[in-house]
Amino acid sequence: MTIEDVLSIKNLADEEIKKTGDLKSVQALRIKYLGKKGVLTAKINSLGAIPKEDRPEYGRVINETKDYVESLIKQQEEFFKASELENLLKANRIDVTVPGFFIPHGYQHPTSRVLDEIVDVFLSLGFRIEEGPEVESDYYNFEALNFPKDHPARDMQDTFYVTDDVVLRTHTSPVQVRVMEKNKPPLRVIAPGKVYRCDADVSHTPMFQQIEGFMVDEHISMSDLKGVLEIFAHAVFGASTPVRFRPSFFPFTEPSAEVDIGCVICGGTGCRVCKNSGWVEILGAGMINPRVFEMVGYDPELYTGFAFGMGVES
């Protein structure tokens, strides 16, 4: 072995390493030169056969060569690793504009949504929620609400009968009577629920949702009814919606009122929805009839109150 041999290995390695095209061939050269059975390793292992005085010189040249090859290979490896990573990132691009995946969320029924919205308005005014049965006695559905038997006012509501004395409630108003029987004023109550009418007319459904509300205390007036229902109408239909009150008839309120809002479809100029009147009826209301107070044992000279009821459609 001569110094020249080692230098020619260095030149060959230099040439071969620089010619490599990928990481794999660089790694093959690492084995070829620096592996356990590599060319340079073999030279190091054969140092023992070199005459003692020449060993330091040989050792220095071989080590220099080894370090040189080592760093060259490392440099080349890093180059290929970096470019491989770059290729990997390039290859793995995703389309971020594709729609996301999610567990589909269920929908609330439109009627429930409207119902909740209305209930929220009254809860914020300090009303509390009460419920009553949907299958109701004639007494609560009619009699106690001043619909005497054999009175034409009963024709106002087509009734499903279970027996002579039991009906599917035609309105949520029986809740008024049930609550007043059990509680003393002051009362502010709202009662949402299902009601039933056996209207054979195709434009009516036999079941729909209604919300009843009432307030009883010592000094509740018709003007208060107007004030509270205006707050409600403006909260639900918009602050600039016109609201009007006009006289009507319900056996359980007196005076009674029908509440209309300006038609949102035509803006009040008249269209098919509002039957050309510019107004759409949203609810019935009135001052609770003293007869109802008498039925529940309230003193009608002491207490006054208002009640309202509205059908809720989506």
Binding site: H109, L168, C198, S221, S223, T304
Partner: protein
Amino acid sequence: MKASIKWLKEFVDFPLSPKEIAIALTMSGLEVEALEERDDDAILEVSIPPNRPDCLSIMGIAREISAILRLPFKNISVSVPKEEGEPPSVEIKDSALCRRYASRIIRGVKVAPSPQRISHRLELHGFRPANNVVDITNYVLLEMGHPLHAFDLGRLAGNRIIVKTAGPVNKILTLDNAHKNLAGDMLLIWDADKPVAIAGIMGGLDTEVSSSTVNILLESAYFNPVSVRRTSKAINLSTESSYRFERGADIEGLGSALNRAAQLIAETAGGKLTAMTDNYPAALKPVHIPVSLSKINKILGVDIDFSVVRDLLIRLGFEIKRAGEGITVIPPSFRQDIQRDIDVIEEIARLYGYDKFPATLPAVRMQTMPQGSGLFPATYRVIKTIENSMRSSGFSEVINYSFLNPLVFDTLRFPVNDKRREVIKIRNPLRKEEEALRTTLIPALLDNVILNISRGEKSLRFFELTRVFLPAGQKLPHESLRLAAVYLKSPHAPSLWQGKHEGFYEMKGAMENLFIKLRIKNYSFTDSDLCEPYLYPGKSCAVSVNGRNIGSLGTLHPALSESLDI
């Protein structure tokens, strides 16, 4: 009630357009539902509330217009021609059911078609003209609101009228050529031998005025509203006449209606009329209603003084007297709906105008909630939590009718002794399939699935949270809150799990999610082949909370999904 503007103007000369008068009436309590403009007239369709029978006539509506617009009301001037001959012989046997019966006989009429001005008006108001005698009874009914009836006197046995109940008589043939079954307590009009009319509802065919009629007996009576209504309901016959009697006719005004009709018949059909036989055993005593001014203002939340109140009530034809701090009000006889001070206050409010009331907010007294109740019943909060949980699991809310077709129990393979077969039935359902109240929510949800499949849906999740109605051995059923959910899974839907399982685990996950939201910890799903007859044995389970069975969960039974084509 239809009302011609032209006819109304005969009683009150108002300068408003048809549209303006429609708004004025609507804003004071008589809602005009439709307005039909014609060449030289306009017809209002006015909705008359049940407490205002006095407005079921042209004059009644005209009176309202006169009150609303402060215009003079031009009353009809009735002048009866010379009276001659024997007046009718009338006997009231049941004065509780007939408080007044007035009548005249007109002899020698020529029954013929009515003059055009009469028949035209009848047609405009929805009446079919018959002959001059019958038409005039209808004309006066429209004009003055009081129902009248004309009998062929020649066919009245004994030439007399007896007002009494049916007793043992159980049938009568009425003008509509149909036999009506009678009950003993129904009030009838009789001649000497037989019943000739169902009082206040319809005349008998036998004594009908026809082209051969020469002498007539004209009836103007007051029949008990409850009695007329009961009979009308029982024989399932409502007429223009019964509609008015059951709401309350004007007992004081029936004499002028009789005279008006007698005069018009004499003018158009000729004949001589007799004096009036007026059986009126106990005259109506007008009510005197004390009303305090402070109560008016307290209830309405306004501040109006006596002069305003007086003006409003006088316009309505009420008589008023100052009585100390308050007033005493005497309503006219046609306003039988005015009995208490609140009725008077309503009239004041109505005519004063609701739009003139301020909109105020009530002063509120706070109070403790009733024992055991918060702002709302505990169930309300639970309902909202369940709804939110089901929606977050992907289930949409449905609201189905509370009705059920009992045939569905066989489809669902319910055993004969299944408790849910005991349903509450509706006596008058709109459809046979809706004759029972639901004891289970499942059938309607399956119907929802079938409907949506037919619309091309492949995958859906629905839930319904509402009451079922269970017989409870007392007057009212037990109304019990139930949750039901259905999941239709498309075979192609992506899934986190391998293998076929028809969405069982998604459904179970939704249940578990619900328990977490309701803070229920001690729940379990127990393998059971028998939990529900409509579920797939081996792919269904019972659900328990604290060891108590609360429901079931599973895949639809294959036989059921095949028969329903799901």
